[in-house]
């Protein structure tokens, strides 16, 4: 049915060489400034104590304390002080022998590597964007309006259109692209991978998370590497990094599901699908087991399982963070604790399967949804987790015009971000508030994230619907 389909109408507005150069310079500057700030200022020490940026399972101070115990021959998990993965201990043990600059270099390199792989993921997304065809509407369809934007119906012309500069096509310069949803196909901006990278690096959440030297960056790196190899269809390495990610922070195991889906996507042979699934699951289990085994060899006992994964699952450390479990578990009765623990753990993973079922044709969007869900709902969230799913949102710029309440969501974010440190300060330092103040702002922050997620999903679904059913294009939905 190729004649009935139209390629997307893409406009390369910001793709000038000067802009690219500007982006490259800004990326370099951002990385260098991270290195400078990490190494030469006291900002990491100050930020390392903030509750939004570090949690008990990602805090560098706790890691240093565990490292001290480890280096003096004691069990690092003694006393319940250190609750992170054992291999991080080994990494920092090596770092302690090296000069001080290597620690800052490590964080900068991790951020740089994440940026590099985001670049490749957004190149994949760019191809994906170009490959989404729009169903051509029938000529008698009264809803199709031909506006002054040059809408080209034939397939051949539209392929050339991408190579021809905009001026020659007669497209006017002052087109209001974002308001143009009434045409046959909306005019989208071609994704600029460098822009996505710059947005990631300039995102205040990533900057703060990197500068606070929280260890969530290794988790994020494993995630991004996992996605990268997933889109390269490299089963082995993607499963290895998925294993590494779930080793470093427990809830990353849910992304194996979408990964499997993606890997079997384009294969027609059902036997091959099963083979790939079996291979992938087998590899994943082997890698997780080997990582745990290597940790056992490092420490000499399996105590770290209870000390690390036990803390993540049973929420035994109730330090305030930006999630909502800490508050809840301070006030429930012990009698109900296990029940609520099970309910909340179920709540975290229960949204993954429906989203897989819904978004099985669009694996990149599925990764956004699943990553966003577990970043919000995991037991010890921090701002670094928010930074993780915000990688994918700029890749879907065409959804911004379909969002129904972006300004509202933005306000929620700004409100919660500005009040969160204030309420913590009021509660802990000044003593004039209490935990309720902070908890409310936590809830509002969660609402902001959920609004962003649901708005994105809504926009995506609407757009997909418009893509498949031309009679709905340009119409505002009658229901809310």
């Amino acid at each position: 049915m190729k004649q009935n389909l139209l390629p997307p109408l893409i406009k390369k507005k910001y793709d000038t060489l000067a802009f690219q150069k500007f982006l490259k310079i800004s990326i370099a500057l951002l990385l260098i400034s991270r290195l400078f700030i990490l190494n030469f200022t006291k900002i990491p020490d100050v930020l390392g104590q903030r509750f939004e940026l570090t949690t008990p399972i990602t805090s560098l101070k706790k890691l240093k304390e565990g490292l001290y115990l480890f280096q003096h021959g004691l069990d690092p998990y003694e006393g319940g002080l250190y609750t992170q993965a054992p291999l991080l201990l080994f990494l920092y043990h090596i770092l302690s022998y090296l000069p001080k600059i290597f620690e800052s270099l490590l964080y900068t390199t991790c951020d740089g590597l994440i940026a590099y792989y985001i670049y490749h993921i957004s190149i994949y997304r760019k191809k994906n964007q170009l490959s989404l065809y729009w169903v051509k509407s029938a000529p008698e369809n009264k809803f199709s309006t031909d506006t002054e934007n040059a809408v080209i119906d034939s397939d051949n012309d539209s392929e050339q259109e991408l190579k021809v500069p905009p001026q020659k096509l007669g497209i006017k310069k002052n087109n209001k692209l974002f308001k143009d949803i009434s045409s046959q196909r909306p005019v989208d901006i071609l994704l600029n991978p460098l822009l996505v990278v710059t947005i990631y690096l300039v995102n205040p959440f990533t900057i703060l998370s990197c500068l606070s030297k929280s260890t969530i960056i290794f988790n994020n790196l494993a995630y991004v590497l996992f996605f990268f190899y997933k889109f390269q269809e490299n089963i082995n390495l993607s499963m290895f990094f998925a294993a590494l990610g779930s080793y470093l922070s427990f809830y990353s195991f849910v992304i194996v599901g979408p990964c499997l889906l993606f890997l079997i996507e384009n294969k027609n042979d059902s036997f091959k699908k099963k083979k790939i699934i079996a291979e992938a699951i087998g590899l994943y289990i082997v890698y997780v087991a080997s990582l745990l085994g290597v940790s056992y060899l490092l420490l000499g006992s399996f105590r770290f399982l209870k000390a690390f994964y036990g803390v993540v699952l049973s929420i035994s450390d109730l330090t305030p963070n930006i999630g909502h479990y800490w508050y809840f578990f301070t006030e429930i009765f012990e009698h109900f604790r296990i029940f609520f623990l099970w309910v909340f753990q179920l709540h975290i993973i229960i949204f993954v399967v429906p989203s897989i079922l819904k978004f099985k044709e669009q694996p990149l969007f599925l990764t956004l949804v699943v990553t966003s869900l577990i970043s919000q709902l995991k037991t010890y969230p921090s701002v670094g987790d928010v930074a993780l799913y915000m990688i994918f949102i700029p890749m879907y710029q065409e959804l911004f015009k379909y969002m129904t309440y972006p300004f509202y969501t933005l306000n929620f974010f700004l409100y919660s971000i500005s009040f969160e440190p204030l309420m913590y300060d009021l509660w802990i330092w000044q003593g004039t508030g209490n935990a309720n103040f902070l908890f409310i702002i936590n809830l509002i922050f969660n609402i902001a994230q959920i609004l962003l997620l649901t708005d994105t999903i809504h926009a995506f679904l609407k757009r997909e619907h418009e893509r498949h059913y031309p009679e709905f294009r340009g119409k505002e939905l009658a229901w809310k």
Partner: protein
């Protein structure tokens, strides 16, 4: 190109691990020099383990307000630096705080600005009013009390105690006036200190006296390990510092005032020495020459900390090993035999073997290595190299 990339990764990992191995098993770590000095300082020259202070005000009546203020200032200093009330004997011959002539009732100030109330609600006076006598003072020092003397009135020092004795009042050549009716001579003081030495009631003693012709009071001392300082030499008078116009009396003496100028800035961690304190004595300010007697004192004044006498800073010895407590030591705990009341009840006679003096479970002490000695097991390194190479190997197989 992909294969080359893999080999590059393998090579770099092997390089990294060999570096780690090399650094692990061949490097030595030392504490930096400054830490060694601090540790040396802990094993410091003074061998005292506790501190006592005997603070005596010998004069009564309202116009001797400054003597009570002197003693209370030293009391405050000594307490602030950590000596507990149980280790301080405070003797005040008069209560000026509740004197009807005191305009500011229940307060004692040592400064006309009246910013600091020395009396407060947290002072413990052990000898008050007419209890401050020569006899009581000498009994206190020598430890020869009447049997019904309460513990708070006894100087329970031992041979590891550093004792500070501070006296203030009106004095003259070789005597000190107590309560307007009697006096103590320098020979009495010297003999009392000698009795203290014989009974091993002090490790080191600092005798500080703020009266007229103060140095004469310690001129007859002959016992070892005594350091003495007085506000003026024989033949000189000691003067008061300033008077409070609203109270109408002088509130502090010069010698004590200038001592406090230094002592107020001493903290528990302070490393300032007594030599530093003595160097701050300025004759032009004190208006009398302070006398210092250190011929009986063994240690160099440059090494004696102010907190050795004025504070309660204990020396801690770090040990790297713990002690293993076993369940029962045959030699230490005697078997308690319950004697039978009557010969008929043989059953009652038991040997009590269950001593609860030692806890039942053994303690396992962990040896803490002072130097960084984390042994990363070679198995772990091997395992991680195996893991990395396994990943790379698998990627070749599967793809």
């Amino acid at each position: 190109m992909k294969l080359l990339k893999n080999y590059f990764y393998i090579f770099s990992f092997i390089l990294l691990f060999t570096n780690v191995c090399y650094s692990e098993y061949s490097s030595e770590f030392h504490f930096p020099n400054e830490k060694e000095e601090i540790i040396d300082g802990f094993f410091s020259k003074s061998r005292h383990t506790n501190n006592w202070a005997v603070l005596v005000d010998t004069s009564r009546y309202w116009f001797n307000y400054r003597h009570i203020a002197n003693v209370l200032s030293i009391y405050r200093t000594v307490k602030r630096l950590g000596i507990p009330d149980s280790n301080i004997i405070l003797m005040l011959a008069d209560d000026v705080a509740c004197n009807p002539r005191n305009r500011f009732q229940a307060t004692v100030y040592n400064n006309a600005e009246r910013k600091l109330d020395l009396y407060g609600d947290n002072i413990e006076v052990d000898y008050r009013g007419y209890e401050v006598t020569v006899e009581n003072f000498i009994r206190l020092l020598t430890g020869r009390h009447l049997p019904d003397t309460p513990r708070s009135k006894r100087l329970l020092s031992d041979d590891r105690s550093n004792v500070l004795v501070y006296m203030t009042g009106h004095g003259g050549e070789e005597f000190l006036k107590f309560q307007d009716t009697e006096e103590i001579s320098s020979y009495d003081v010297a003999d009392a200190f000698e009795q203290m030495w014989e009974k091993r009631r002090y490790n080191e003693l600092l005798f500080m006296i703020d009266t007229c012709q103060a140095s004469s009071m310690f001129s007859r001392v002959y016992s070892p390990n005594i350091l003495a300082t007085g506000s003026s030499l024989t033949g000189q008078n000691s003067y008061s510092h300033h008077l409070d116009p609203e109270l109408g009396v002088a509130v502090i003496d010069r010698f004590t005032y200038y001592n406090l100028e230094t002592l107020e800035y001493v903290t528990l961690q302070s490393q300032k020495t007594l030599q530093y304190l003595f160097n701050t004595y300025d004759v032009s300010l004190i208006h009398s020459t302070p006398g210092i007697r250190h011929d009986l004192f063994e240690r160099n004044l440059n090494k004696v900390l102010i907190t050795d006498f004025f504070g309660a800073v204990y020396n801690i010895e770090l040990t790297l090993k713990g002690y293993k407590l076993s369940r029962r030591n045959e030699n230490d705990i005697p078997n308690v035999k319950q004697s039978s009341i009557s010969d008929d009840d043989d059953k009652i006679e038991k040997i009590n073997n269950n001593n609860d003096l030692i806890p039942k479970n053994k303690y396992r002490m962990i040896k803490i290595n002072s130097k960084k000695s984390a042994k990363v097991s070679p198995l772990f390194l091997l395992g991680s190299v195996a893991l990395i190479s396994g990943v790379v190997f698998m990627s070749k197989i599967i793809n």
